[in-house]
Symmetry: C2
Subunit: 358 residues, 2 copies
């Protein structure tokens, strides 16, 4: 039997609750396909700060690197919001992304037929939306140097960051995006600000060059301000979007809100080789933590992405997706996606229903 | 009688059509208040590139500086899209903003009761939305140095830009935003990415410091990715937003699309002293240029902002706003805001109707 090791990073807030539920689903889906999964839980984020004084302990990164895939809950909370930069939970997240070299962040934003009413967009605009945002995750302004604080010629304090991309950083994310687009609708929209930024001009040049390797994919370019508008005006025009780290941060969140069901959305972060990192796109929701109210479906669907993109066990991923669909069809809803006529359940119960459906 | 000189920059695409119409409305509204307006038309954008080889001729900047206010149509078009950076119409726009020192860009995004159906958002989410985005316009990554192309240690091409803000750049835009918020709903939301970027950490620190000068305004902070979501989820939560140049570019376009009537939205760019720059937020729409189809209302409302913020003749501004409301109430609509049961008109006719209503 195939056997894989999974690092679990429950993190903060609702993280532990949703990871616990997703772990059981992951385990069950694996065994149905004859895949054995071994789990090891490690500290990250605020939990690691409290226990070990750093947001990403060396042991955590080492264990993650040595495993076959990583499932992360969520990190952060009011408690650590005013920490210095190197002691922020977010810094742990950025460091594990960089440490694992997971440069390609895949963020699907699909409107499920059962949940179309949850969108704030009109039904005819929202229904059928199925977008995949491919975000560059280990470069750009998030990591560019120089960065920091300084003093300008007038003796005033300054804060600065560097948006920088090299040709190979763009080429590799472009290739991932073209591959993804090829397996989806065959359309790729590259988003940049090439009318103003040199980093974006190089981005556009390289993406255009890589396009010649994918003659079957239709490439278009769009400025980021226009993309932010078009996602609201007519999200169905998009199939796959590829963009840099900061624009991807903004646009993938906008796209996810357009679906109206942020508690449903998973993400996958993968590199050239080595283990991938899988996590729901929602945050740690400290206000509802520990109350069994969280929606575990985003983490369960992240577990499905882990099976598909992380371990290559697509059959097990399909089982989970089908089980989630069935659970929704059976009318079960957590508070965030509840509507009259459906059955309100908590985090654990939702997990049990998915397990039943498996 | 008071007399002012206005520089007209028709620009490209539909620019000349909408500026011609707005000029007549501006003139008429001024004279009703005993204000004489003298106009001088200058070249900018693609029009300037074609006629003079540069996107912002020295005479244009000099004339603009010497005048009391500037009304701009729109710039850009496919024809110049592949020009080198210094020969792009957009570079002319960036240079006039910098040349005039108009660091504060005010972008209202309001859903007019007559046009609530034009929004792709559900009626109950869209109606009553009234947001003012205050965008920093002459700093940040748009102008930061170093910028350009280079070679990294592996001999690969790189493209880079610098996001940088000084304390005084932040302080002055914060003060404008607090003043604006004070005259509106008294709530200011500052948007940044202070969990990752040093430039944003300084931004948050300075905005928080300036807040003590405005005890009557309620300040909150939001990360840019969350703001992009919240604008879709519940735009009514926002009153006034203040943010940096690039985040403002993205979020103000997103906010404007939420209103569903981009052809209606004006903007004002003002500095510490000197003339302000007033322009519709829509682009040059080359596909409908010269067909008398453009909606001139955004430029007409920009003329109202010119009277209010540029010349301090608020009474004349109010006349224009009232005339636009009346024209909409009378059922006149250009194609972009047309709905069954209203009267479809062209650009010129729309201008005539506003003049009648004045
Ligand atoms: C928490 C934060 C550092 C992170 C990011 O900006 O990448 C988050 O917003 C995300 O998108 O995963
Ligand atoms: C045309 C472009 C340079 C400009 C900008 O990015 O500022 C435009 O998008 C705007 O918002 O006025």
């Amino acid at each position: 039997a195939r056997s894989y090791s999974i690092t679990l990073l429950p993190g903060d807030g609702i993280g532990p609750e949703v990871v616990a539920v997703a772990k059981d689903v992951l385990s069950a889906a694996g065994s149905k396909e004859g895949v054995e999964l071994r789990f090891r839980e490690m500290l990250m984020g605020g939990a690691a700060l409290d226990a070990a004084g750093v947001p990403l302990p060396d042991e955590t990164l080492a264990a993650a690197r040595a495993s076959d895939a990583i499932l992360l809950g969520a990190i952060g909370g009011y408690k650590w919001d005013n920490n210095e930069k190197h002691l922020k939970p977010e810094t742990g997240l950025l460091n594990i992304r960089a440490g694992l070299g997971v440069f390609a962040n895949l963020r699907p934003a699909s409107v499920l037929p059962q949940l179309v009413d949850a969108s704030t967009l009109k039904k005819e605009v929202a229904e059928g939306v199925d977008i995949m945002v491919v975000r560059e995750l280990t470069g750009g302004i998030y990591f560019g140097k120089p960065r920091g604080f300084g003093t300008n010629d007038n003796g005033e304090e300054t804060g600065f960051n560097t948006e920088i991309y090299s040709a190979s950083e763009i080429d590799r994310i472009a290739r991932v995006a073209f591959e993804v687009a090829r397996k989806r609708g065959g359309k790729l929209c590259s988003v940049d600000k090439a009318n103003v930024l040199e980093a974006s001009m190089l981005w556009r040049k390289r993406v255009t060059a890589i396009a010649s390797e994918f003659p079957d994919v239709e490439l278009s370019h769009m400025y980021v301000d226009n993309a932010a508008m078009q996602l609201v005006r007519n999200p169905k025009q998009f199939d796959t979007i590829v963009t840099n780290n900061i624009f991807g941060d903004i646009l993938s969140d906008e796209a996810s809100m357009i679906t109206g069901s942020i508690g449903m959305l998973p993400s996958a972060s993968v590199g050239e080789s080595g283990p991938g990192l899988f996590e729901p796109i929602h945050g740690s929701a400290p206000d509802i933590a520990g109350q069994d109210k969280a929606n575990p479906l985003a983490t369960i669907l992240s577990a499905a992405m882990l099976l598909k993109y992380g371990l290559g066990v697509e059959s097990a991923a399909k089982r989970i997706e089908a089980a989630v669909t069935e659970t929704l069809d059976n009318g079960f809803r957590t508070g965030d996606i509840y509507s009259p006529g459906t059955t309100l359940v908590g985090c654990k119960r939702m997990g049990e229903e998915v397990l039943k459906a498996l």
